[in-house]
């Protein structure tokens, strides 16, 4: 056959694709890939801001992880936190988005209210949350006592602190994910709901499972990947709210890496920690994306 004619139209589109991808790719290279490569290199050295010189130490930094019990603690904390945060940060906004989207009347006011936390500044909000979560006289415990429950030591109890942080994080992310879901929901053709209601899929659950959920899949995939990544990237809230306390009960992985790198100036070890973490996180996120993409087959 005519080999040329097969190759060339493809090529023009390919060229276009490359052209469109070039700026972003270049920046990704500059902002992510090269720095990560640098981090990768550093992880084989004993580099630190404290000394000018450095020498290669091979896999020492990686070996060190296995002897570092805080590594495991941090990993465990991160997983526990993620297990609390991810469902909350995914399901609540989804429910909210669906509930809000259906209403004509209060839709806009509700949207604004739930989005407010996203606009807030973490440092200021941390002060507020400290006050609210105060185990002695905080508003939340006052409420609990008022409702006949006992007080909870939100930030002081090592068993509770991750829940508290997750609560604060979910609070901060509800509006964010809700807006994403809302954007996704508006993209679902209305006539499918109509077809569904004719077909008898009138129950909210049916509407959800037969139409909304499958068609929201791209958004849902995005939100879930992003939520997953956010969960594992937890840093700020810990840094300002608990500083890993009490007694490392909220020391999550990235915070550990931060401490090692920027408080203890074990830069190279921090790099190694980060890389191990990123590799695992990337694999999970990538797998999730691929699976989600595959399941989503409508065009």
């Amino acid at each position: 056959m005519n080999g040329d004619s097969l190759v060339r139209p493809e090529w023009s589109r390919v060229r276009l694709a490359y052209f469109l991808s070039a700026p972003a790719s270049f920046l990704i290279l500059l902002i992510y890939v090269l720095p990560i490569l640098a981090v990768f290199m550093i992880s084989f050295t004993d580099y630190s801001l404290v000394y000018d010189g450095f020498s290669f130490v091979g896999l020492d930094n990686y070996k060190q992880m296995f002897t570092d019990r805080h590594f495991l603690t941090a990993l465990q904390n991160t997983l526990i936190y993620a297990a609390i945060f991810i469902p909350g940060a995914f399901v609540l906004p989804l429910v909210l988005a669906i509930a809000i989207q259906r209403r004509r009347r209060f839709r806009s006011i509700l949207e604004v209210l739930y989005f407010m936390p996203v606009t807030s500044t973490l440092t200021a909000m941390t002060l507020v949350w400290r006050a609210l979560l105060d185990s002695n006289q905080g508003a939340i415990n006052n409420l609990l006592v008022g409702l006949g429950f006992g007080k909870v030591n939100w930030l002081g109890d090592g068993d509770v602190v991750l829940i508290s942080i997750a609560m604060v994080s979910v609070w901060g992310v509800i509006g964010f994910n809700m807006v994403l879901f809302l954007a996704g929901l508006t993209a679902i053709p209305k006539n499918l709901y109509e077809a569904a209601s004719i077909d008898g899929a009138d129950h909210p659950l049916d509407r959800f499972f037969q139409v909304t959920w499958p068609l929201l899949a791209p958004t849902a995939l995005f939100v879930s990947v992003n939520t997953l990544v956010t969960a594992f990237k937890l840093f700020d809230t810990v840094a300002v709210l608990t500083r890993g306390g009490p007694d490392r009960a909220s020391e999550v992985y990235l915070y550990l890496a931060y401490l090692e790198g920027f408080e203890n100036f074990n830069m190279a070890y921090a790099c190694a920690l980060s890389l191990v973490f990123l590799t695992v996180l990337f694999l999970v996120a990538w797998l999730q994306t691929r699976l989600g993409d595959r399941r989503r087959t409508h065009a």
């Binding site: 790719s25 890939v33 990560i36 509700l110 989005f115 440092t123 002695n136 993209a187 992003n226």
Partner: protein, 294 residues
């Protein structure tokens, strides 16, 4: 509110009341729950706003009351707005956020389109890089990037404040997901009509992706508006400080000016709320894809 309205019935008021009648009990309960939730979500803000009006000895009173006994709002807000170059900080924040947003959109939209709608070799690799980059927190890359900026003498510039955020993999991923749903047959029609691929993006895809674009824009602006981590690293002189940084001014280890801190937080948050209010309409501006059958 409601009794004021009752005492002066307006022409449309009866109609309003009737329209308020819940369509069903479940609906009414749902609405109540939503508002209850909203109140919970909002409470920290109410608390913050209230605190910004109070003297220090009232802020942490265990019995919360919105209105302070001693009103300090005037002092607090005056201090935040006029005793420091707040306008400069505000302007810096705007420059940085808008600059970041523009570059992010310019870079993310084309690549997202390519990833969503074009076939090319290396596509899944590129997408792999995007997902990978999504997982990389700035904490990890901050030192290499910082060293690079120092190398080029760019520290303490707007550029250095913006640079690490010029490409948003979040945006690329998000837009890709949204673009994928755009009907191919409309794109085909456009190709026949003589659209260049760029114009397909500009004229067709973008208008349809407005909800996602608006959502992202708000996220981006809010995120960088409130960002402390990176500005703390690259800002050296006070005239490059951002509004969020200025909020720290009233806090130190054993000595916090709570009133001003919260007044400052309120003042810093306010522009974001306003931006959101304006952008919000775009979120729901969806285009029904009824141009196609099937």
């Amino acid at each position: 509110m409601s009794d004021i309205a009752l005492s002066q019935p307006q022409p449309g008021f009866l109609g309003f009341l009737v329209s308020l009648k819940p369509r069903s009990l479940a609906d009414a309960i749902g609405t109540c729950l939503l508002f209850l939730g909203a109140w919970l979500v909002l409470f920290p803000f109410v608390w913050m706003l209230s605190a910004s009006l109070k003297p220090a000895n009232e802020v942490y009173d265990s019995e919360f009351s919105f209105w302070p006994e001693t009103f300090m709002g005037g002092v607090n807000y005056y201090g935040v707005l006029f005793e420091q170059p707040y306008l400069t900080f505000l302007a810096n924040s705007f420059i940085v956020c808008i600059g970041i947003l523009i570059v992010q959109l310019i870079t993310a939209v084309p690549v997202a389109y390519a990833l969503a709608k074009l076939k090319f070799k290396g596509k899944s690799i590129l997408f792999g890089f995007v997902v990978a980059s999504l997982t990389i927190p700035i904490n990890v890359t901050s030192i290499p990037i910082y060293l690079g900026l120092v190398e080029f003498g760019l520290l303490d510039t707007y550029f250095s404040l913006m640079f690490p955020f010029f490409v948003s993999v979040f945006a690329i991923f998000l837009f890709r997901q949204f673009f994928r749903d755009y009907p191919d047959s409309i794109i085909d029609a456009a190709r026949v009509d003589g659209f260049s691929e760029i114009e397909i993006i500009l004229r067709l895809i973008l208008p349809a992706a407005v909800p996602a674009l608006a959502a992202f824009s708000v996220f981006s602006v809010v995120a960088h508006w409130n960002d402390l981590y990176w500005p703390l690293i690259v800002v050296q002189s006070q005239n490059k400080m951002t509004a969020a940084l200025s909020m720290l001014q009233y806090q130190s280890d054993f000595d916090n000016d709570y009133g001003r801190t919260f007044a400052s937080a309120t003042v810093v948050t306010l522009p974001m709320v306003i931006i959101f209010l304006f952008a919000r309409r775009l979120f729901i501006r969806s285009i029904t894809m009824t141009g196609v059958k099937g």
